[in-house]
Symmetry: D3
Subunit: 277 residues, 6 copies
């Protein structure tokens, strides 16, 4: 169960409105790796975790914090939209090229749909959807998803940091970037601990290795002409999981012949055999 307080976790006030940046900032609110994604991903992983322990607590700690990040971004975007010049566009093209240029950089749904509010969408107006997230029931797999999300997320926020010089926006972004630093660190810590506990780095660690086709479990197949990749760590020496030796196949050959499918029964009205000679 959740409680809300009206205060923000951190300041979310720009020095001045900027509807173009408001559109761009939507990416880290409602985009593939935005705050809605991490909020929903961590909470779903927590609710689905089939154990009651410190990992579950960590997921709820972090997922609950992310709701507050969604809140900060929504607030910031609403303020960046203050005084947005959608009304003034009527004359802009005749008299005010700079204003006209601004219009091009905005998202008109910030005027028409949300009335100067944030949208649950990305920088191109694409709505957030739940296929951005994963809660697989396997925490080692999921913590890798989390590390990825925080890596992509921090990358995007640092890019946005370089695209504005508004001190209020930068102040908030510097907070989010720091939190992503923590979150990358925490998922790395949790991943290492789980790898150690499970005694393997290959997810899932519980599938019997004898059931996989072991002869190809450590082989790099050179399917792209050129041998640059043969010089990597992944092509030589002991494998990272300590259970095999990497090897490199310069000219990979197929293991199986060309398939031939049976004709479909009449019901399906597929291409009739007489056409396939």
């Amino acid at each position: 169960m959740f409680y809300h307080i009206k205060e923000l976790q951190y300041h979310a006030k720009p020095a001045k409105p900027d509807p173009v940046f408001a559109r761009q900032l939507q990416e880290v609110l409602g985009g593939q790796f935005g705050e809605i994604s991490v909020m929903m991903q961590y909470l779903m992983q927590g609710w689905n975790a089939r154990a009651d322990d410190k990992y579950r607590d960590l997921l709820f700690d972090t997922g609950t914090e992310e709701i507050a990040h969604v809140e900060m971004l929504a607030t910031m975007i609403a303020r960046l939209l203050d005084d947005a010049p959608f009304e003034d566009q009527k004359n802009a093209y005749d008299t005010n090229p700079v204003l006209a240029a601004v219009m091009g950089g905005t998202n008109p749904q910030h005027a028409i749909v949300s009335g100067l509010g944030a949208l649950p969408a990305d920088a191109e107006g694409y709505p957030w959807n739940a296929k951005y997230i994963i809660a697989s029931g396997n925490l080692l797999a999921d913590f890798r998803a989390n590390l990825n999300a925080e890596s992509q997320g921090r990358l995007q926020v640092t890019r946005l940091y370089g695209m504005t010089d508004d001190p209020g926006v930068r102040d908030m972004l510097s907070f989010l970037i720091a939190r992503d630093t923590m979150h990358q660190n925490q998922w790395v810590a949790a991943i290492r601990e789980l790898e150690e506990r499970e005694g393997d780095i290959v997810v899932p660690t519980t599938f019997p290795r004898s059931l996989e086709k072991q002869e190809v479990a450590y082989t790099l197949f050179n399917f792209s002409r050129g041998d640059a990749s043969s010089k990597g760590r992944w092509a030589n020496g002991p494998s990272m999981d300590g259970r095999g030796q990497f090897n490199y196949v310069a000219k990979p050959e197929p293991f199986a012949g060309a398939p031939k499918l049976k004709p479909a029964p009449f019901l399906y009205h597929d291409t009739p055999p007489k056409s396939m000679m």
Copy 2:
């Protein structure tokens, strides 16, 4: 540029048809973490990589192999659909409860849309879409995405392995599981090398740390009552990136006050001020 040969990388022939499993197997063809995802992700990362080196070659080697995995799965699904009893459903409900039960487990689009062919969709008929993938321009970030994809992917394939006992299907899955073992190993190797080269584990490593809010860069905020998470590695000791000390805040307080947004201009016909008293 690409070349195709008709032979399959590995065998893709079931011992006998099984339209229910055909539907389930779609998940690892056209689902969030299916073979189309890794194929498209690695190729896009390769094409966008702003350097010509062993990582790019590795991406093309692996991405090109994944097209062959898509091919194997499509072939397997088509064969699992041989003799699918869609025509026989007409009487099944009266005379053949087992057949009726089978119908419930199938995807009717395998009959109506593809005429006994594979669909570019997941086990629930949801079509593959490109928001499943990422090519960010930052290879350390992207290799983490790749490690995540191979972890979720191998997890799903091992689950499917346990849900069938068809020796032909299991043979193919044992090949795919082994390749995912290799791919997890190779992305781990590449990640470690990049972390070493870049001298940091926090993506992006190039953003000046002085610009992030350093006081919160290593803090775990306890937003979910209960202190189980305080006992984790992530709450104590040196941070994983070696640049700070983890710390734990048992009762997190907001850094900012409650926000108050300005009323919107008349144009937007938002709630009028007189209604907001």
Copy 3:
């Protein structure tokens, strides 16, 4: 900012597992009118509300409660999936028609993707997306959206109530149904208050009526043959907003002629004029 406690707002424990109902119950977790929708809709409306008052507080009270409903449903679904027979399907079709029938009613992603956890999706596996919700900046409009969401939501939950006889599930549903009763009541109360404050029922109340085409503002056009609709309240007497008289046009005629579009410039390679004679 938000805080979480581990306790659930209400019990979420079925008397026994039921993977078929788990799939069906997904509708009110991640469907068009499920709990994720109301949670996200109320929170977004609260964050975007351009005033600091009792409506905003009401939105946060209710939005925060809805996170707890998401939590309850996720927990319930996970428990309904305990002991799901995905492993046993291997022999079901030969030996156990009832089990085979069960398989047809399940969502295989509950096995393959989430490992017996809830999915952020509906009863047909379609993922939640943010186009389900609206935060328009106009609270009268949005409270109507909320009343609609609670009406559709309660309707769906009562249908599900009739589709199960598990006392644990019914107990939880009886709680959710009651909360939807409250929420319908509260949005009706808030709507009536706003209508009174704004002195109109036509949203937005602030657009000058003189600017709309007043001659057609209270007319019912009979575009579907048959005059049953002419007998409704909407076709006669004073309009509901008290500003006009409803009237009925039995044989509606167009106000404008047939349009003729100009040919497109050469650039677009539209159908060339010579083809359009």
Copy 4:
């Protein structure tokens, strides 16, 4: 069955082309609350209505009119695109900043995809989809959906009215705004009649109240710190449905304990118990 005449219900001719406004106007053609939505929603509700009466007739009258509104908007957008300067962009950035600014505000798919025609999409190019609409089988629920759609729709059209000063566009919008006035009025009338006939305002009115958890059916839980919402009509006095008394809980407590999920069977390769200590 339907018949078409070539004449438009109302004029749809701008005074002059404006490709930027063409993009913005797409919102009320193919957006979440655009004319395609109401057209499809009313028709589907009519086709699914399990009775042959005045409501059904009203749905077809209005749904059929909405096809004509889609037609008017498509025509208007095509005309706003006449003479769109996509060809001239080649030099715009060197010689004509105003033209360059215009390009930013346009939707390039109006050139590339539709060749100066309207698109079945919104102002950000997102395609219309059928999850925007509902036909639930319960007309009271659905008429609330309709009232919401007409409220959001009229709000959006009035915003667009303020963003243009083209007299031809404004003339058409003044017609659409007036029709939305009628449609809000008619759905209010129909809602009130149904509420009266059914003797309740809580949808569905047919679910036995004794089966819901009555102790929480009229309670406002204060989940967001601050008591502003306690002063609303929804927190005191008789409930709007006349069947209870609103009450306010200042410090809501959970009704249930913290859940603990069972470990998953081996098949799913969820996090192994040994990792969850």
Copy 5:
């Protein structure tokens, strides 16, 4: 502008309910090539056609008829859902395996969401979306889209015909199949006429051939090992447009070298050059 009559274009009454077939029949109502697709595609093409002529009239004739087909299918699906056994599922798994089997084949949203009404979705519950259709402004291109839609559509309806033996359903399908026969014929007729008028079969016919890379305009490149395709009409003799000679390249070589992309500026925090050695 449109008018509606309550009568159906053709009968839409099954001999008896069949909720499993109701789900399957959704494909040709709301699927990729269902009736909503052709209805919306023809109407949009008509509205966007930049000429007032017989093609436009043909599009409106056919598009308007398709609304009536949507109506027939919605009606049929509602009737197939009469008496659907969702309530009885409570005991089915214990006592009635056939009923349990039926449940697996149904779409639970037919109970929960639409209350026994049709859904604007396909056989897997995926909602109709406007990316299924095209109105390009070029009628020759679009009539090919229409011919494709009617070909896929008729194929799907004939498959469904073979999956039922309900005489009422088959009667309606036999009507739809015949109409698709007409529509394929009419688009073929229109295509041939346009090809003749435009003097070419390559869309768009107006792009100057001298501006395309003529040396590769009639070449079949053999990118898939094996020379079966060299024996086709497309590899030898005069091209179908009468402007060239087909030729076959057995071993295609690249025309360009390997690309090398420039490093990205610092702003983007792409992989740093030092990592790319």
Copy 6:
């Protein structure tokens, strides 16, 4: 199985960067009729083809070539993004209207998400999805889909050709346009051959004509007032398939009466009968 070489099929190098055109060019990479669509469509058709013959070889030849076209477009877009001025936008609105105008025409995700790389999306940032494609199992149907795809695709590329004057871009487009010329020619050739082999032009050719409602198989119904369409080839003379005579019905009448649906059982809580009088 597939092999890759690093060389491009054709040159993909612009004379100079142009981030606005980069956004526009995305349409033919990741849009509805872009190169990803044809690549995936042809490969899926090949994998699903239930015969081993020249058509299958042709599909693989062409599908494999299309991967190389995706590669060329991705490379071109990355190069058009070189030096994109996202960092400079900070001051653009004050000092550099032309730069500000450029920003409006760009896709900010090219900076934030892909770090100057191509996106698997269209010109409006909408991600590619697999509902763009079809592999039906019937090659005559599918080759019509292919002809449509190449027609729409070539149309879009020629429009883009007219929207740029960059000689490097135009050079690449002239190659793609020529290949689309070939592909239209080849699908026409294959379609004609299949029509001849199957002895009919109505897909599927295998459905017994006696089972369709023959009285309406060649009739044009005039549902849109005006008789322009009666003068077309499709309304008179022998049908294109040579099996009937086209005829024209000026005033189409319904074949069936108005439907009346049964009330739904109580479970569904649809509108109660007492409300439907």
